[in-house]
Symmetry: C3
Subunit: 269 residues, 3 copies
Amino acid sequence: MNTLNTTAAAVLQRIRDQKPLILNLTNNVVQSITANMLLAVGGVPVMLTHTQEIRDLLHSCANGMLVNVGTLSAEQAETMLTAVTDAAEAGIPWVLDPVAVGLLTFRTQVCKQLLQTPPAMIRGNASEIIALAGAQGALCRGVESAAESSAALPAAKALASHTGAAVLVTGETDYMTDGQRTITCTNGHELMTRVTGVGCAMGALCAACLACADNALEAAVATAAILGLAGERAAAQYPHPGSFAAALLDELDRMTPQDLEFSARLTEI
Amino acid sequence: MNTLNTTAAAVLQRIRDQKPLILNLTNNVVQSITANMLLAVGGVPVMLTHTQEIRDLLHSCANGMLVNVGTLSAEQAETMLTAVTDAAEAGIPWVLDPVAVGLLTFRTQVCKQLLQTPPAMIRGNASEIIALAGAQGALCRGVESAAESSAALPAAKALASHTGAAVLVTGETDYMTDGQRTITCTNGHELMTRVTGVGCAMGALCAACLACADNALEAAVATAAILGLAGERAAAQYPHPGSFAAALLDELDRMTPQDLEFSARLTEI
Amino acid sequence: MNTLNTTAAAVLQRIRDQKPLILNLTNNVVQSITANMLLAVGGVPVMLTHTQEIRDLLHSCANGMLVNVGTLSAEQAETMLTAVTDAAEAGIPWVLDPVAVGLLTFRTQVCKQLLQTPPAMIRGNASEIIALAGAQGALCRGVESAAESSAALPAAKALASHTGAAVLVTGETDYMTDGQRTITCTNGHELMTRVTGVGCAMGALCAACLACADNALEAAVATAAILGLAGERAAAQYPHPGSFAAALLDELDRMTPQDLEFSARLTEI
């Protein structure tokens, strides 16, 4: 029995039992799919914009938080910078999704400021992780090849060691590292890149898994396996993006811990 | 023949005939499903953010307005406070959806200010209605049990009497009251709470029914029956949330007044 | 062989080959369907709100831009006015979608300011095009009849001649004109008006076609044929709006240039 699969299965079971409430500070495009993917996996999504309300929720019933800079404004940047310090005070783990960092200067600077308050996890594609680790990425396409995601592994390890966060590099193969251990996940399907917000909503699943896992690396592993397995099962039945998007939510809802035990493709490298 | 069912059927027929134009001041997460549910039932959705444009629409072709505070910002609060006074001047009935009131202080204060301009209807879950009526709710989960919605009935009656609005308390059983009469609806399905925005979009259907009903209590009754029946029919065919969400729109579009005559489960208590 | 069909087919093939990156400055309701329709046809959607990030993208990897005023705020108007001048500097063609112009004064004034920087294409319904050309429209319903779209043809020709843009008037029959030539497209289905954002997302497809066509009129012709054919094929299988919306994305993804050669109904008048 693959102990990584057992870990992912245990995290999914805990999400179903504990229904973690995740506060999502995310972009304008993906609000709905982010909430729906969280609901389908068993979490409770909340979106807020008012700084005091964010503080109130973090100090009352939030179990995790996502910060995604996809459509960052100057005002939202201020809200996010305050929110991560509030989350740290409240002891709420948070996930950074550095969308398009390396391509766009403003958000690159804001993400470096955000990192002064350590996140528990960072999720990005290869170019974003390389850029966040200090190099500049060339990021005019969202789809990353497996080669590119493996190419980001040194940057991912350095970023993990520097920040203390687990880093999840998404691509045809997903790479998860805490700077010491590195695990790959080969579940998934290319159609997941053809529906807007699947990657961004993955950051919300990271936060739900963080709230239920023993450590951030296990949360990253569980997230990659849960979403990747749901994606490949949905794509096997629905090869076009409109019906695939509905099927992805159905598969997340239908998934059992046993499905992960038997079908996750997780390997420590 | 149940006269409540006949009322609900008549309201649906009038929505199909009159195509009420509903202005939605709602949260960032549910804009799309709110517009699509209104279109499916036969209404015309409009979303605006600019105070003068809101005033212009209220004084030209709007037939109703929804105010939903789900992702309230300080700026949006100002816009909403101005909009409800404009609606009152223009004689346009409006619906308040006090999302998460009782949990979050800022929106609780804003909703109390909004109520100084009387809405025609208030739609919320048990905790929200209890909190809006003056008590504090504990509101870290969106799903309310039937017991909880019945527990809110005294608060709902007090709120109706105090504001002059009809109050719709949603839960496994929906309760509708004007402070004098109370009606229950047992149509619906738990999956309606597993798709983001179904509850929020229900507020928009309330506004469409208000524009076409003889009074606010009848509008609340029609809304609960139309959405509940569509939800239970969709869930009977599609037991998972992604395909259910599409089927819910299909069932709203497909529904006839006769369906409500025969299948609505409405009871005066 | 209809040379207009051949043109539309060639544009679709180029979108699939070149994957144009389209920057969308659009309204709050349609962000997700806009991104998903672009992805389904083969483009790459980007949404941004920060003026400097918009400038950076226009000067790096953007191939086209959409400006849609559906939920215009004073702040967004400033952003859009700066963005169109940046697009002009960078040589990026842009599309104007003057949603509800003629009904609402603020956006009507802003659209006239935007037109001081010439767009490559303008897409609207009959009332919007008539209003933008100078007359006042009465625009309390989104659905335009064929009669109404033909009634806008003189206004469309005048607007095209005045601005240098190709004008696409959508309705039961779509009319495309550059002021000299006029082409009609009779593909499409009424259900396309019953799913929020299909018309708005059409503006994003216009921008993708502009990035890949020899001229703006050909881009307008290709857009009308691609979306109209996808819509009628989806409606033939799914006559209700929820399942239709998913099928529309599936049909855009499935469509081949050969489908357009054989099934587009384009006529020069």
